[in-house]
């Protein structure tokens, strides 16, 4: 049998629809777990993990406990009015984000992944309108009115399945994270802090919302500032939590990092 036609066919099939492979992106995801010490929650949040603010996780080049008097990433030189230099993160992410709780009074107060139900939201954030306490049903109606949600499944900031933190056997609170799409060089540190007083949230930013039923009256729903991982010190206040001994990135290892949040910012 003449093998030339077969070889030609094989070569053709190899080439067909093929050119080069997808590019090799230098950035990688980095997976891990944040553990917030149970005693911090018990001593400073009344034992209620629902009160945990947004947890910020950053991958930084280095770590320096001396410069600010508390554990903090190494920074670049101070520029302009910044209190400290840029911490120059390689990447990072957060656990939870700010959600608009359908009332202006709840702006910058509701964090996703903390509440299983509307009742829990109001338990932690009691709310009154015209001297009337807002109950679950009123909040449901308000959200339905604003967002057009038709069922409780559509409420994006609540849900038992969406809770970030679980209490582990040691009484600590544990949540997984994935820092997306960043460089993770060997020797970098994974630092975390928790903003319990919501100062990382800007009420002047976020989605533009319309105050119904008045067309032309707008407001912002509130969202986080855009430089939190660059200048954590700006947002770290008394009562916030942070990690005192962040783990170090190992060459070729992209998961399994445990960041322990074990210290109170005085």
């Amino acid at each position: 049998m003449n093998s030339k036609p077969l070889a030609a066919l094989a070569a053709l099939l190899t080439l067909v629809g093929c050119d080069s492979d997808e590019e090799d992106v230098p950035e990688r995801n980095l997976d891990g777990t944040v553990i917030v010490r149970g005693d911090l929650v018990r001593d400073h949040l009344g034992g209620d993990p629902r009160r945990l603010g947004v947890v910020y996780i950053g991958v930084y080049e280095g770590f320096d406990e001396e410069q600010l008097g508390y554990p903090y990433p190494k920074t670049g030189p101070r520029v302009g009015d910044n209190p400290v230099g840029d911490a120059l993160p390689y990447g990072g992410t957060s656990i939870g984000s700010y959600a608009y709780g359908c009332y202006r009074a709840l702006s910058c107060n509701v964090v996703t992944g903390r509440y299983a139900s509307l009742h829990e939201v109001l338990e932690v954030n009691p709310l009154s309108v015209d001297d009337q306490a807002v109950d679950d049903e009123t909040l449901y109606d308000q959200c339905s009115w604003y967002y057009g949600w038709n069922s409780i499944e559509e409420f994006s900031f609540i849900g038992a399945e969406q809770l970030d933190f679980r209490e582990n056997a040691d009484g600590d609170y544990e949540a997984s994270f994935r820092a997306w799409h960043g460089r993770t060089p060997e020797g970098a540190v994974v630092y975390a802090f928790v903003d319990n007083d919501f100062t990382t949230c800007s009420p002047d930013n976020g989605t533009v919302n319309r105050q119904r039923p008045y067309d032309g009256v707008f407001f912002r729903e509130g969202t986080n500032y855009g430089d939190i991982l660059n200048f954590p010190d700006t947002y770290l206040n008394g009562g916030d939590f942070l990690s005192s001994s962040p783990p170090v990135v190992e060459a070729g290892r992209q998961d399994g990092y445990t960041v322990v949040v074990d210290m109170l910012k005085e």
């Binding site: 629809g17 950053g58 993160p89 992410t93 460089r183 989605t207 032309g216 986080n224 855009g226 660059n230």
Partner: protein
């Protein structure tokens, strides 16, 4: 011809064609007839003579049958033909009214009889309406269709009649983006080299046919993920023809209603709006022989002016433009034809910004021009070999400037002052932009002068041969295109101010916010080339069965403004198809086809990684001290320094396409068909924004990598960037026959994927990836298009079109955060669509025969029921659910009256 001789001829012709300095190939502009001639008892007749003649063809075309009685007659210009067959000892055979459409093959088998030698048989039976030799999905919008139906006198609108086409003038074709089509003029690629969209308007009276290819491309097509839209112009004939037509349109006489919906279809704003809308459209055409059967010409002229004012805008937008077209077709010696054409379309658009917050002083002006030069040589080398070479040059200018001033005292117009002459364009006064409801005043802040060019050289050779394993129609060819775009842009006075409302609810709270300064004009030049070779074989192993096989090899190299190759790839794409005529009588076919088609890229993709784009030196004003502002992300301190990073090893964006269907001739020039199609778009261009750090929910950014505050892009084509289209079309088409023309089609489709955009930002935030796959806004599940025209007695004619389209899909969580990118598209909750829309257009025409021509009058009523249409998504305001509003401005019921004379 022996196979060896045949191959040698093909090879020689290919080399000859490739060496020609201005040689080129274009998508086929002609059709062909093929078939078998048999004598008594079905015996194949060799040496029988076939002669085709038509008013659309110079002279006659004559071929003789081969040993098996087979004939092949390529390169026939579309039109009505008379086909004659004769053989010594046999009675002559004549068939009239054979309709040849662009790029189609008619199979006409002929049986000659010896009954009476002196008589001639004239066949008046049903004309063939099905091209049984192809599996390609093609729709041809014919001249009679354009004449009889209300098309808005725009070829872009006429394309909308095609199944699988939705959207506007730059349509979405079977899931493709509006910039992913390929626009051809007489086969020459006239797509805008930067955007991939159409590059000029055209005189409808100069169009003979429009071919729209949507699926199962042959190897000779391709380079387009959407549709190939080929406008074939008139050429003139041995008969002198001419006409003068004038149309006046008025959209002011009907009540207008605004179409602003929430995604759930509720109307949220007032329904009345003011809209001025008037148009004038004057056309003339003239064509005929310069030398009978040797030299023909066709020329046309169009002047169009329309003005319209959108809701709240102070000054009407005025489009003023011309179209000049000229074409000469020469046939100086047998078997050779030379065609040259020129199309030119200068136009201006005054007061472009139809926004209620733009003062006349801050208006924008756009002037544009398109020039297309083409030259073509068709050479019928032998009875069985046809060569075509084609050259085309496209030059498009688009200049955006401040509105020229006038001394005419009218507060709606930009007034001159001081010693400014009439028409003075102010490039020195900085402009003021209004944001968030504030007013734009003083001067248009921005100017941009664009020059875009595309030169294409193509060559093909087609040959036909009979072999022991059936007949082969082999076609090979090459194309070499050079693309370039020069763009000079800057800010008037190197400065602009931005005003904003301190309190969004209070118009009096306007604040002069901040300013930026550029270091002067910036120049960008993008250029590149796209080249390909292809080879395809249309093989008929047994009568009635056709197998298409082809392969195309593409090479693209498009560069950014410093000459770096950004879009650079080589790609081999196979295509194929099979078509079966079960009874081998031309009255039905079952077909299937498909293959891989790549996106050859546009200069806008390469320009995405231009280095000068953010090289402006910006001095940031007080507003930037406000840490709540995101715009600082656009800050770049170093002129000319690259803020970007590109990655090599791109995978060419492509579509995997499969179609299958059938067509049946129902008689009376009517065919019924069904077609299912799948298009899987993969490796779509993606701009990866790498310097942001996203929060865990992917809803916002919480930092920037390494402190960089520039947008830091990377061009990618990841596998995850995908889009899928599944469609099923039913169609009923009847050519104009016994006074009735009919075209009805219904398409059910699904468009899902990650992104509907040609360059997606959807993957900027990887946390979204699991959620993003879903319905795309271009999804239109149900589309019905019905057109009909009827010729009434006494010269009256009535036509109408009905169009029903499902509304756009909306994601309940379609929102935008940070930098203006639409990153959050989570598949949570239910999806919504805006309301479906339907419209009815009617055209009535009267033609009065005169001794030397026809006088005609027409009335076209568009959107008879004055329906509203939600046409887009408002990008300015988000509603409380984090959704965009669906918005749209109704194309109001309009009346267009026309009159003219033609001969």
């Amino acid at each position: 011809m022996s196979p060896k001789t045949f191959l040698r001829t093909i090879l020689t012709a290919l080399i000859v064609a490739a060496l020609l300095p201005a040689s080129a190939w274009a998508t086929e502009q002609t059709g062909k007839i093929r078939g078998t001639v048999t004598g008594d008892g079905g015996v194949p007749l060799a040496g029988a003579t076939l002669v085709a003649s038509s008013p659309n063809m110079q002279g006659e075309r004559s071929v003789t049958t081969e040993d098996a009685g087979v004939y092949w007659m390529p390169g026939l210009p579309p039109g009505e033909y008379v086909l004659k067959a004769s053989a010594p000892g046999y009675r002559s055979w004549v068939k009239e009214g054979v309709r040849i459409n662009i790029n189609t093959t008619l199979t006409i088998d002929i049986e000659l009889s010896t009954t009476t030698l002196t008589e001639e048989v004239t066949v008046v039976d049903d004309r063939p309406v099905i091209d049984t030799s192809t599996s390609t999905s093609t729709t041809v919008v014919t001249r009679e269709y354009l004449e009889a139906l209300p098309t808005g006198r725009s070829y872009q609108s006429a394309v909308q009649f095609t199944p699988g086409i939705t959207g506007g003038s730059n349509p979405n074709a079977q899931g493709g983006h509006s910039s992913e089509n390929k626009w051809l003029l007489d086969g020459a690629n006239t797509s805008d080299p930067v955007t991939g969209t159409f590059s000029f308007n055209f005189n409808l009276d100069a169009i003979d046919e429009i071919e729209v290819i949507t699926g199962a491309f042959r190897a000779e097509n391709g380079g387009s993920l959407g549709a190939i839209i080929n406008v074939r112009t008139k050429s003139g004939s041995n008969k002198l023809e001419g006409g003068l037509r004038a149309f006046f349109g008025n959209g002011n006489w009907s009540p207008k209603r605004d179409a602003v919906y929430t995604p759930r279809g509720g109307q949220i704003e007032g329904s009345e709006f003011d809209r001025d809308s008037q148009s004038y459209d004057i056309n003339a055409f003239f064509g005929g022989p310069l030398l009978k059967d040797k030299i023909w010409f066709f020329t046309s002229f169009r002047y169009i002016r329309n003005s319209s004012t959108s809701q709240g805008a102070i000054t009407p937008r005025v489009f003023d433009g011309y179209n000049l077209f000229g074409k000469v077709t020469l046939s100086p010696f047998p078997r050779n034809q030379f065609i040259v054409s020129v199309q030119n379309g200068p136009a201006s658009i005054g007061n472009v910004l139809q926004n209620s917050t733009v003062d006349p002083d801050a208006q924008r002006y756009q002037s544009q021009n398109s020039l297309v030069l083409t030259g073509e040589w068709r050479w019928q080398i032998t009875n069985n070999v046809l060569a075509r070479v084609h050259y085309s040059h496209l030059d498009t200018d688009i200049d955006v400037t401040p509105q020229p001033c006038t001394w005419v005292e009218d507060p709606r117009l930009k007034q001159c002052n001081g010693d400014q002459p009439e028409g003075f364009v102010d490039f020195t006064t900085p402009g003021v932009i209004g944001t968030g409801g504030a007013r734009s005043t003083t001067n248009q802040y921005y100017y941009s002068l664009n020059d875009r060019q595309r030169d294409a050289i193509r060559a093909t050779v087609t040959g036909y041969a009979l072999t022991p394993i059936g007949s082969h129609e082999i076609k090979g060819g090459m194309e070499f295109s050079r693309l370039s775009a020069d763009n000079m842009f800057g800010y008037t006075g190197n400065l602009y101010y931005v005003d904003y409302l301190d309190d969004a609810s209070d118009a009096s709270s306007q604040i002069n916010g901040y300013w930026r300064e550029s270091q002067g004009e910036l120049y960008q030049n993008n250029s590149g080339l796209a080249a390909f070779v292809f080879l395809q074989d249309t093989w008929e192993p047994v009568p009635g069965l056709t197998i298409d096989l082809g392969v195309k090899y593409d090479h693209s190299d498009l560069q950014n403004d410093v000459g770096e190759s950004i879009v650079a790839f080589d790609f081999l794409s196979p295509v194929g198809g099979i078509s079966w005529d079960p009874a081998n009588n031309g009255r039905a076919k079952i077909y299937a086809g498909g293959g891989i088609v790549l996106d050859e890229g546009r200069l806008s993709v390469a320009g995405f990684l231009d280095k000068n784009g953010l090289g402006r030196k910006l001095f940031l004003g007080p507003y930037f001290d406000n840490e709540t502002n995101y715009s600082f992300n656009q800050y770049s301190a170093d002129s000319g320094q690259s803020n970007y990073e590109k990655l090599d090893n791109l995978s060419a964006p492509r579509v995997y396409n499969v179609i299958a269907g059938f067509e049946v001739n129902l008689g009376n020039q009517t065919k019924l068909g069904m077609e299912g199609a799948v298009k899987l778009f993969r490796n779509i261009w993606e701009d990866d924004e790498v310097n942001y750090i996203w929060n865990g929910d992917g809803t916002d950014t919480i930092g920037v990598v390494n402190g960089l505050q520039d947008n830091f892009f990377r061009l990618r084509t990841p596998n995850a960037a995908e889009r899928n289209w599944f469609g099923l079309t039913f169609k009923l088409q009847r050519q104009m026959f016994k006074n009735l023309l009919l075209d009805v089609n219904y398409t059910y489709s699904m468009t899902r994927g990650l992104t509907a955009a040609p360059i997606s930002a959807a993957l900027d935030n990887p946390t979204q990836r699991p959620y993003e796959y879903g319905w795309l806004y271009i999804d239109r599940p149900h589309v019905i298009k019905a057109s009909a025209a009827y010729l009434l007695p006494l010269g009256f004619q009535v036509g109408g079109t009905f169009n029903f389209t499902s509304g756009s899909r909306f994601d309940r969580r379609f929102t935008s955060k940070g930098g203006g990118y639409n990153n959050f598209v989570a598949e949570i909750g239910t999806f919504d669509s805006v309301n479906p829309w339907w419209s009815l257009d009617i055209k009535v025409m009267y033609k009065l025969k005169l001794p030397y021509g026809k006088l005609f009058a027409s009335a076209e009523l568009n959107n008879v029921t004055n329906n509203r249409q939600a046409t887009g998504i408002s990008t300015s305001v988000l509603n409380s659910a984090g959704e965009y509003y669906a918005s749209g401005r109704q194309a109001p019921m309009g009346l267009e009256l026309g009159f003219g004379y033609e001969f």
